[in-house]
Amino acid sequence: MTIQTLKPFDGNSPLSLKASEQAALVAKHPCFSKEGHQYARIHLPVAPACNIQCNYCNRKFDCSNETRPGVVSKLLSPAAAATRFVKVKQHVPETQVVGIAGPGDPLANPKATLASLKAIAKVDDDVHLCVSTNGLALVDQLDSLLAAGVKHLTITINCIDADIGQRIYPWVYFNQRRLRGREAAQTLIDRQLLGLEAAIKAGMLVKVNTVLIPGINDFHVESLAKELGRYGAFIHNIMPLISDPSHGTYFGLMGQREPSKEELNLAREQAGQSMQQMTHCQQCRADAVGKLGQDVDISQLESSITLPAPKTIQVAVASKSLSLIDQHFGHATQFLHYQVSADEIKQLDNFVWQQYCGGGQQCDESAAKDLSQLKHFDKILCSRIGFAPQQELSEFKVQVSTDYALRDVDLALKELQQGLRSQAETSNSPCSMGECS
């Protein structure tokens, strides 16, 4: 796919500079350019929540033999996503594009999405970041996406007429309410167009995806494409509806048929009068890896490469006596802070913090203490801990251990150190890369 509107580059006009920059952006992106084929992409499944329901989507099933958007085998945390990217990059160096496409809507999970984008940008400043969204929360999140360095954006817009929309979207969650019917569709369409306009104004390359649904929006794609052209969207991707009844989607169960090849071509031809069409989309999963059409099996990859184990861990100890691990997590007003590595145990300044538990028989309902302040610790040693804080800490990847209850602090730390040493030995063995030849 070439861009016909490119002016010859004269180096002076900022416009042509922008165009050449755009051309460079597009050429390497498999979802924007046919020639992008030689470049690989990775979709990171970090965003499970969704704020709308589409009739062609069912979030219940995940089968690794299915290839359709909205399915993943395993969610990743932002940190794990960055690790996966590093591994894939080692394996497939032509990975130039990192996309977040779900399995829900990335912008319904703004924290996870932005954290992942930032983590990726940190390990590779050369990579193209992109996000694929339904557009409902786009206006709210656009600034943070720009700040994170996202230059490619895909919005799925299936129609710009709410009468059609209410046959595609049964509900939309907006401003704290589940909207239904025409109101839901109108809200979604309005927000999509607002977001589209703002993203284009901000200089993003915007692709628009449209799912072609025979009898519902097939007669509408022509006017939709006209409108998209007016807004200045970069490329239009009309994808055939997938409505296999076994996927359990509303359309699948209600017998809504998929478009034929001819219908798809006709729709692309009609829309092609006002929008450049993309025809090589593979409708890949939200955790796809590799070049289009030749996906890499991620599970094999994950098992074949191991990263070196972390060398130091941060340990917090709850102790009344300052020599034994003899304090309940909820009663601690400070933690002893140690940095443990294979070669040394270093005590740092005590970590002062407000007691988690007031000591009453009943926990105070309003006392939702912010445990995220403890997330820079890898391990917390204490004599006891309640279920709720332990759960919440495990979400911050903080391991709480009561194994050393009432034992000596120094001895416990030595045991942890021993564990680190044996880890280091295994990861330094020559075969740990699993790629001996």
Binding site: K60, Q176, Y250, M254
Partner: protein, 87 residues
Amino acid sequence: MAFTITKACIACYACKEVCPSKAIISDDKQFSVIAHRCDECAKNVNGAQCAQICPVETAIVDANGCALNPPGSLTGLPQEANVIALS
């Protein structure tokens, strides 16, 4: 006065994203409500936030075990047993 998350939950995190009381916790696949934090969004005119966004029918029930999103309320799929989907 607290909701419960049932086995129908698909672990999509949506409720956790929107819960104003930080009452929903998860480990990998199992989501649950911390009872003493959940006030069923009693003061919110828009209703219980988890129930407003949950995409799965019967995944959240109230203190009496009643589903906040009963069967058929979200998908629009006909619930009568005698309706057979055309294929």
